[in-house]
């Protein structure tokens, strides 16, 4: 394994601290970008007054959340209620561990990296349900129940979509998956059919798992007031918010890694350039997701389930079989 700092533990510690702090900073400015972007879409100007072009707005927002009164409802399950926001952020950050940002720049180069991030993704429902149950609020409870149904359903197409690059590259190690796409052979575009479709499936399932519009039914503020986060105030509410954004950024990064060649791009294989390519692709994907978010209205929970079980799951199965056939055909010699 390629270690930057000798021992694996030291490597993971140093990289982990650096990457997580960087990501949290990026996330707060991602929120600024989203607000500006949404503002432009809606013929508004977005944050403008705190700092130049509203650039200090994320800091002001965070400060506002910090000085808000921290309320725990009397009848809430205190332990669960207080633990849930912490877990929400932690779980969202977990997938970061196996993400190769550039060649060798990965916190833990696991051989079962794909399995790890799928497991971490499935964990997101735990803090959501803890919040839903612990709040002892009817809206939160309904939101929590919806989250479980949604997570169970969408975990399956997510696994199937992630299986396609695994089959194509023959490895569950994310670094190997990226290496298999080197030279522009990105799985989203090659082989033409299954890779692209699996990419879309992956995006849909990630949106659903991260409770993003149009799949944000556990939060559904027009129906459930604020769903699972109804009873949360101040920074605890902010943690859910942060968790959601981290999840969507990491989701975009995983999509880039699995389907868009990760850090692969034109130019020499230098760390800085690779990192730049990776960040650029992630930014583009995130912006596309923002565009979706600010355009679509929300699905109903039963329609969400129908979409998953009737359409996404069968198409996921077909894609897995198709990509397996493709690999078999290539092994048989392909066209040659």
């Amino acid at each position: 394994m390629n270690m930057l700092f000798g021992s694996p533990v030291l490597h993971a510690l140093i990289l982990g601290v650096v990457i997580i702090s960087a990501l949290l900073g990026v996330t707060s400015y991602f929120i600024w970008v989203e607000r500006k972007f949404a503002g432009r879409m809606q013929s508004r100007i977005g944050p403008e007054h705190v700092g130049w072009k509203g650039l200090l707005q994320p800091i002001a927002d965070a400060f506002k959340l910090l000085i808000k009164e921290d309320i725990t409802p009397k009848s809430a399950d205190r332990a669960m209620f207080n633990l849930a926001p912490l877990l929400a952020v932690t779980v969202a950050l977990l997938s970061l561990a196996v993400l190769p940002l550039a060649s060798g720049l990965v916190i833990a180069d696991l051989d079962v990296g794909v399995l790890f991030f799928l497991a971490a993704g499935a964990l997101t429902v735990v803090p959501t349900w803890m919040a839903g149950w612990g709040s002892n609020n009817k809206y939160a409870l309904i939101g929590g129940m919806r989250a479980i149904a949604q997570s169970v359903a969408y975990g399956v197409p997510l696994v199937l979509a992630a299986l396609v690059p695994v089959i194509l590259s023959g490895s569950m190690n994310l670094s190997h998956i990226v290496a298999a796409q080197a030279g522009g052979h990105w799985f989203a575009f090659w082989p033409i059919g299954p890779g692209f479709a699996a990419g879309i499936l992956f995006v849909l399932a990630t949106l659903a798992e991260g409770n993003r519009i149009p799949f944000d039914i556990p939060e559904a503020e027009s129906e459930l007031v604020s769903g699972i986060s109804t009873e949360y105030t101040g920074m605890k509410f902010g943690m859910f918010y942060l968790g959601e954004y981290v999840h969507s950024l990491v989701g975009a990064a995983l999509f880039v890694t699995l389907f868009l060649g990760g850090y692969d791009g034109p130019g020499p294989d230098v760390l800085v350039l690779q990192l730049a390519w990776f960040l650029l692709k992630t930014a583009v994907v995130s912006m596309l997701l923002l565009w979706v978010r600010w355009t679509y209205v929300r699905l109903r929970s039963d329609q969400l389930m129908t979409l998953c079980w009737k359409y996404l799951l069968p198409s996921g199965l077909v894609l897995v079989v198709a990509s397996a056939l493709w690999v078999w055909w290539k092994q048989q010699g392909g066209l040659a």
Partner: protein, 412 residues
């Protein structure tokens, strides 16, 4: 442009509707269900939605009995915005009444004033000059567009959430509505509570250049309506959320006394602008929009078609505004200037929400003896106990939004 054919054809015609609506669509929910006798799979959960809730359009409280997420029984509780307007009208003179009813249907103040003022005029027997009638019609139609724009925006918000596509549609709709408010501000000096209608005519004459400004606004909004359609009704998620949801059959609609777009979406061609023309509607062709399915989507297409039609009517009228006085009686100089003879009068007009009626009884004094208002929203809310059972919470919000209730009007 879109290639999909609309599933709900919306007809706009000045002739009576050709098709007969389906009187009964399916089994009707029992609004008086005895909860004790209902056997749930688990426990029933009682959820009080509102009066403080983002999507109850003000302060409506819905008591929902939920089996899982499915509504078993729904009871709307009204009165959280009761201000005693009808009693207040008895205590105020005829002259002082119009600004009070501005606050009833606070998104369509023009039509509120119009309904009350027309009842007073009928009681007093005074003639309204033709110019004033034209101005009243133009104001009422532009008000209808403003009101429907606000409805469309908030309806998208109900469906799409405050942090998503719903807000985008909401912002677009409010952007256009703002221009109509600008027009009204130019005309009356106020943006919400206009006090434009006056017994015997209107209070403000057209400022110079208003007609050109109005035509520009109407043309702009007309050009942008396809944008909203491409964002909402051409979006498969929107269609999935609205088609077949909250169906009202024609019989139920008539039994409950629904009116306006809610009734016209059930296929019943009832439009007071056509059947008993008031103001200047007898001088212009009114083509009311009709759809037959009676579901949320039908109510949406009817309102969007009405926006187009209202813009057409207003634009057509502004060119032909006759010259002449804007008041048909001697100027009102004192509070007690209006003293209609003893008697009673009922006047109903087609407000953006439906049939808005005012019944006034006079005893010959400067104050009405009794004043009763018939708000269309109040009757629309009566449909909720029939529509909600069997649906889930997301649909509750959508169905409620599609009825376009304004609590200020329903509670008075």
């Amino acid at each position: 442009m879109s290639t999909h054919a609309p599933a709900h054809p919306v007809e706009t015609s000045s002739a009576p509707a050709a098709r007969v609506p389906t009187p009964v669509i399916g089994p009707r929910a029992n609004p008086y269900l005895d909860i004790e006798s209902y056997e749930a799979e688990g426990d029933l959960m009682v959820l009080n939605m509102g009066p403080q809730h983002p999507s109850t359009h003000g302060v409506l409280r819905l008591k929902l009995w939920l089996d899982g997420e499915v509504v078993v029984k729904a009871v709307p509780y009204l009165g959280y915005l009761h201000r005693g307007v009808e009693k207040l009208l008895e205590k105020l003179s005829y002259v002082q009444s119009t600004p009070i009813v501005d606050k009833n249907d606070y998104v369509a103040s023009m039509t509120n004033e119009l309904a009350l003022v027309m009842a007073f005029e009928k009681l007093e027997g005074c003639e309204v000059p033709r110019r004033a009638r034209y101005l009243r019609t133009i104001c009422a139609e532009m008000q209808r567009v403003a009101s429907h724009l606000l409805w469309l925006g908030t309806f998208a918000l109900d469906m799409g959430g405050a942090l998503g596509g719903g807000t985008t549609a909401f912002m677009y709709c409010l952007r256009e509505r703002e221009r109509i408010l600008d027009l009204f501000e130019e005309l009356t000096g106020a943006r919400f509570h206009y006090h434009m209608m006056q017994i015997g005519g209107v209070r403000h004459d057209l400022p110079a250049g208003w007609d050109a400004h109005m035509k520009q606004v109407a043309a702009d909004i007309l050009a942008r309506i396809p944008e909203y359609e491409s964002m909402l009704s051409e979006n498969p998620i929107f269609r999935a959320r609205t088609r077949g949801v909250g169906r009202i059959d024609a019989l139920l609609a008539q039994e409950l006394g629904l009116s306006g777009p809610n009734l016209r979406a059930c296929g019943i061609d009832h439009d007071l602008r056509k059947s008993q023309p008031y103001a200047a509607y007898d001088e212009i062709e009114v083509r009311s929009a009709i759809a037959y399915e009676g579901d949320v989507y039908a109510r949406y297409v009817v309102r969007v078609a009405e926006m187009r039609e209202s813009l057409r009517i207003a634009t057509a009228l502004i060119d032909g505004v006759p010259s002449g006085p804007i008041m048909g009686r001697k100027p009102i100089e004192t509070v007690n200037a209006v003293k209609p003879p003893a008697g009673e009068a009922y006047v109903a007009i087609d407000s953006p929400r439906g049939e808005l009626g005012s019944w006034v009884v006079s005893d010959g004094s400067p104050k009405p003896y009794r004043c009763k208002l018939r708000p269309p929203s109040y009757h629309a809310l009566a449909a909720l106990p029939y529509l909600l059972p069997g649906t889930t919470i997301p649909d509750v919000v959508v169905i409620l939004g599609s009825l376009d209730p304004i609590m200020g009007e329903a509670d008075r």
